[in-house]
């Protein structure tokens, strides 16, 4: 009897509990949205925020309010009302400009101010890239109110607008009317410096790398129209530009004056673009161009400094690169031949990997026991100057005990019938290759008086003998050193 009574009590307790719990609907509490921030999307939140209502109006005007009401997640750097008021009229002059202006404040996905990285590079909807630094600054604007979250992303309120900047190439185009150097760079849209440029331009598929192929400067130096990288570019003023080109002109002698000008300009301007944006205070006294030319810099000659979306341009009143550093030595590696006078001697051709007595490893080529008088290895050299060249080789004769001879010739063509060298314009004398000589040896000089479209043929020719050991060829490298006139 007692036990039944107890059971009844438990039943009552259980019912009571059930009654209490059911009323509060805990699952609803758990999953429901109670945060008022999350009831608004970005578009609504920005236009309702007292600080950013002006930017909200711009959103509505450009149609970006609909984008920001979408289901993707965005980050908006919303300029405060004061900042919008201070925007130059220029930036908002046309509908196109307003759209670009707004797009430069919006990025896909959420970028919180709380981050491990000190700098986050953000691609904006305008396709420009901005630096988000320490979670407190974006480009040169300061964040006054960070991390306002909404149902589809977050917005940061900033004290200055992020009007889109031009990139370096757009800047150059803008200056073309007044700057000779800019005008020249635009010419390279049409002019092909190398054969490969015309092929690249013809094959450019819009959208895919088309940009970097559309101008010969882009293909051969840097694509200054690329937003994803940053560059430093030195634009010479007209006086300085003509000074520099005049100095180089005697070394760029083409049959026609116009062509000479184009190439002189190219060899002057190609050394003026550098990867990465270098701030004025960090500029070293010498920069090395991607072609190996040392460019001396003096801060005093910077006439103008323009910060652009993909780097910085310094307009220089004077920038003098001495010929000693401008004219580069050409090195031809023995182990990278262009061809042979006959193709059946692979078994006699040794691509070697050896060390000199000091233990420095070198790669070279040796052709031995081929039994062909005047067997020839062909190389090519391009980007040479019209001047005298001193020629040196490093040719290592280490597996024979006798001295043999070989010679180097420049120019001419390869006979289509027997592969032999025809009509070289310069033929250096047969020179001894002494056993176990690891030093560079001077072997003579030659003169180039005119530039040509095709690369210069360089030939390494064996002795006129069929005897093994006598007609050996060996070459680590050839060095062509231009002489200043």
């Amino acid at each position: 009897m007692i036990s039944i009574k107890l059971n009844k009590n438990y039943l009552g307790l259980g019912l009571l509990l059930l009654g209490l719990v059911s009323c509060s609907e805990p699952w609803e509490d758990h999953a429901g949205v109670n945060d008022p921030n999350l009831t608004l999307n970005l578009s609504e939140a920005i236009s309702q925020n007292a600080q950013t209502s002006e930017f909200g109006k711009l959103l509505a005007e450009t149609g970006y309010d609909r984008v920001l009401a979408g289901s993707k997640t965005y980050t908006v750097f919303a300029p405060s009302n004061e900042a919008v008021a201070a925007v130059s009229a220029d930036a908002l002059s046309t509908a196109q400009a307003r759209k670009q202006f707004v797009a430069n404040h919006i990025a896909l996905t959420a970028f919180s101010s709380v981050t491990q990285q000190d700098t986050v590079v953000i691609q904006m909807l305008s396709d420009k890239y901005l630096d988000f630094i320490d979670g407190s600054r974006v480009a040169d604007a300061r964040i006054t109110d960070a991390d306002n979250y909404t149902s589809n992303g977050l917005f940061h309120i900033i004290d200055k607008d992020l009007a889109p900047r031009k990139n370096i190439w757009e800047f150059i185009k803008e200056r073309a009317a007044t700057s000779d150097m800019s005008a020249y760079l635009l010419e390279l849209n049409e002019f092909n410096l190398y054969t490969r440029d015309s092929v690249a331009k013809a094959n450019a598929i819009p959208g895919m790398q088309a940009d970097s192929l559309s101008n010969s400067y882009f293909t051969n130096v840097y694509n200054l129209n690329n937003e994803k990288n940053k560059y430093t570019f030195f634009l010479l003023d007209n006086e300085s530009f003509s000074e520099e080109t005049d100095r180089l002109r005697p070394y760029m002698n083409w049959p026609s004056e116009d062509t000479t000008t184009v190439y002189t300009n190219y060899f002057t301007t190609r050394d003026l673009a550098f990867h990465k944006a270098i701030a004025r205070e960090n500029l070293p006294d010498t920069l090395v161009s991607r072609f190996g030319v040392k460019v001396p810099l003096t801060e005093a000659t910077i006439a103008e400094e323009i910060q652009l979306s993909n780097g910085v341009v310094y307009v220089m009143s004077k920038l003098e690169v001495p010929l000693e550093t401008r004219l580069l030595t050409t090195t031809i590696q023995g182990e990278n031949p262009f061809g042979f006078s006959q193709s059946d001697k692979r078994a006699n051709t040794f691509y070697r990997e050896k060390a000199d007595p000091q233990g420095n490893v070198f790669f070279d080529i040796m052709v031995q026991n081929h039994r062909v008088p005047r067997f020839t290895i062909y190389y090519t050299a391009s980007n040479l100057y019209t001047t005298t060249y001193k020629v040196y080789w490093r040719a290592i004769n280490d597996i024979q005990t006798n001295t043999f001879q070989q010679r180097v010739s420049f120019g001419g063509f390869i006979s289509p019938t027997d592969g032999s060298l025809q009509q070289p314009f310069a033929e250096l004398p047969y020179t001894n290759v002494e056993p176990n000589t690891y030093e560079e040896v001077y072997i003579g000089e030659f003169f180039i008086d005119r530039q040509g479209r095709s690369a210069l043929l360089v030939a390494l020719q064996a002795a006129n003998s069929a005897a093994d050991g006598v007609n050996t060829l060996t070459l680590d490298y050839l060095k062509l050193v231009p002489v200043i006139k």
Binding site: A347, N348, R352, A355, V361, Q368, I399
Partner: protein, 586 residues
């Protein structure tokens, strides 16, 4: 009446059924034997059961492969950790293994030992019950006994003092209880192992008519089993008992001597010279007359030095390999080496250390190339910018593209003993046994090259050592009169590897010993010998710096901040050993 009959018939039927049921039911129907497991009364019934038990033990033994390589190489100086290595591997490399590290746990070794002990005990019972012959017993007992000694030697090398248990035990976890199973020091362990292994009645490989030497799934099983003489040589070498070691090694080196087949007789385990014309050899070589062309290096899976690790188990393979177990993707256990080494289709957990790379780069080839092709051309390659140890993955990667041929084709081998190791170990013993000249000859360019006299045509009295066994070598190769002696094709380890001879500097015994150990690094890297080599020499010379300096150089070259501290630590012998612990749940 009719009804009665029917009822009667039914009763009858029922009765018959009942009787039938009572006879059969309980015994046959309900007592079903499991089909995937054996009862204790179904094993060790005859010689074939014994064979199955041996194969089972070797299968279990193969699970030690990964640990064997990591313990012996990552702790030593030729192997380093990568960006993918876990903290326990880094601790192993930096000699800071704590008790919770999986490498501190010797349980898997003892599991195999337990298997061996069970085999041995049952072989005794089978012999007593006359279930197989004395000869069959001797061969199998010696095999499993030697395998157990091999495992104990490894345990001793890595854990120092370990319990030496030779009987099956009830609960394996009792092993860690030092009060139940006393841990004996390494020297004592070696003595025990020598005594036991020397006492085995059979030391040759299984005879070719044994039921264990067959072809299974395309594999010839002859080289699956441990070579007892090799282990005996190793044990004596650890015991600094040089003559005995040399005797056992020499027995293996002369395996081909009695063969009527010329290539068996002259090539088996003799480190044959290079076949410069055909390149069908195991040597580092170039296409003939193109030795100066680095692109003419013989670098494929069927010719030259690389093929030692990549070729099928063919005639030439058999002249080099003494003990090697295959991993096949169709059978357990899984090949652990793909994950360990490959950065394509694997996890790339270890790589060659900078110190090892430097060792190969410091050599000069005989064509003047300033490196040892066994290094960057064969033992490791640069793949996707990573240094990848290739020895174990030649069968996994495409020979040209170096991409996995098939991610599920994980065939490979566990490399345990080969002729080069045998020669180096023999030379180590000979060198310490006042036979430095022989040691130097085997290390460099071979017996003939060392003992010949230039310009002499009559070879009757030259090109041989004129020593009693185990230092008797006859390498005569002459035509007037004609000689083709057993050792005439021996080309020496460095001869076969196409590198310049190793110079002897200062005290010749010490210098040659140094050369031998360094050669083992160049030739046998990542085959699981290095740590043992360093420990053995450091013990023999009573000079911990021999080991400590090399580990220091490795860690220093890898940029580890611990290098100096590790060196100091390793100057004390006790710190060479891993802690001996395991947790029950593991």
């Amino acid at each position: 009446m009719k009804t009665f009959i029917i009822t009667n018939r039914n009763t009858l039927l029922l009765a018959v059924l009942a009787i039938l049921l009572s006879f059969t039911s309980c015994q046959e129907y309900l007592d079903v034997e499991p089909q995937d497991q054996l009862n204790s009364d179904q094993v060790y019934r005859d010689v074939f059961d014994a064979d199955a038990a041996i194969i089972g033990t070797y299968g279990k033994f193969m699970q030690l492969a990964e640990k064997y390589v990591l313990l012996n190489e990552l702790r030593a100086d030729l192997m380093a950790t990568t960006r993918n290595s876990d903290p326990e591997m880094i601790a192993l490399s930096e000699h800071s293994v704590t008790t919770d590290n999986r490498f501190a746990n010797p349980k898997d070794f003892y599991e195999v030992i337990q298997n061996c002990n069970d085999n041995l005990k049952n072989f005794d019972i089978m012999l007593a019950e006359k279930k197989f012959t004395q000869t069959e017993y001797n061969q199998r007992y010696a095999d499993i006994g030697t395998l157990r000694s091999w495992i104990y030697l490894q345990l001793g090398i890595h854990y120092g003092s370990v319990p030496y248990i030779t009987e099956p035990i009830e609960n394996l976890d009792d092993v860690r209880d030092a009060s139940k199973y006393e841990r004996i020091p390494f020297e004592e362990l070696i003595d025990e192992l020598v005594a036991f292994t020397e006492g085995l009645a059979y030391t040759s490989p299984y005879s070719s008519d044994s039921s264990l030497v067959i072809s299974v799934d395309g594999y010839d099983t002859a080289k699956f089993f441990i070579n007892k003489e090799c282990l005996l040589g190793d044990l004596h070498l650890w015991d600094n008992n040089y003559t005995q070691a040399a005797i056992h090694y020499k027995n293996v080196m002369e395996t081909g001597t009695m063969s009527g087949n010329d290539s068996d007789r002259f090539d088996t385990y003799r480190i044959k010279f290079a076949e410069v014309a055909t390149n069908n050899d195991l040597a580092v070589g170039y296409l003939r007359f193109r030795e100066q062309d680095r692109l003419a290096l013989i670098d494929n899976n069927v010719q030259g030095w690389r093929s030692i690790f990549a070729r099928d188990r063919d005639v030439l393979w058999n002249t080099e390999w003494i003990w090697s177990l295959p991993f096949d993707s169709n059978f357990a256990p899984k090949n652990p080496f793909i994950d360990l080494f490959s950065n394509r289709g694997g996890e790339y957990l270890v790589k060659p250390s900078q110190r090892a790379i430097d060792l190969w780069e410091d050599q000069n080839q005989r064509n003047g190339f300033p490196y040892d092709a066994r290094g960057k051309r064969f033992t490791y390659n640069i793949i996707d910018g990573d240094e990848v140890i290739m020895k174990y993955i030649y069968k996994f990667l495409d020979p040209v593209s170096q991409s996995p041929i098939d991610l599920f084709q994980t065939d490979g081998d566990w490399f345990l003993y080969r002729a080069a190791k045998l020669h180096l170990r023999y030379a180590e013993a000979a060198n310490r046994d006042n036979q430095s000249r022989i040691a130097d000859a085997l290390l460099n360019f071979g017996i003939q090259s060392e003992y010949t006299v230039p310009g002499v045509t009559d070879k009757t009295d030259i090109e041989q050592t004129f020593q009693p066994f185990p230092y008797n070598f006859d390498a005569r190769n002459g035509d007037f009169p004609r000689f083709r002696a057993d050792w005439h094709r021996n080309g020496g380890i460095r001869g076969r590897a196409y590198v310049e001879r190793a110079e002897v500097l200062g005290d010749s015994v010490i210098s040659i010993e140094n050369n031998l150990i360094e050669e083992a690094a160049l030739e046998l890297a990542y085959e699981g010998n290095r740590w043992g080599d360093l420990v053995r020499i450091a013990l023999r010379r009573n000079d911990p710096s021999f080991l400590a300096d090399r580990i220091y150089e490795k860690l220093n070259a890898e940029g580890s901040s611990q290098a100096g501290a590790v060196r100091t630590k390793l100057m004390v012998r006790e710190n060479w050993y891993l802690p001996f612990v395991w947790n029950e749940e593991e």
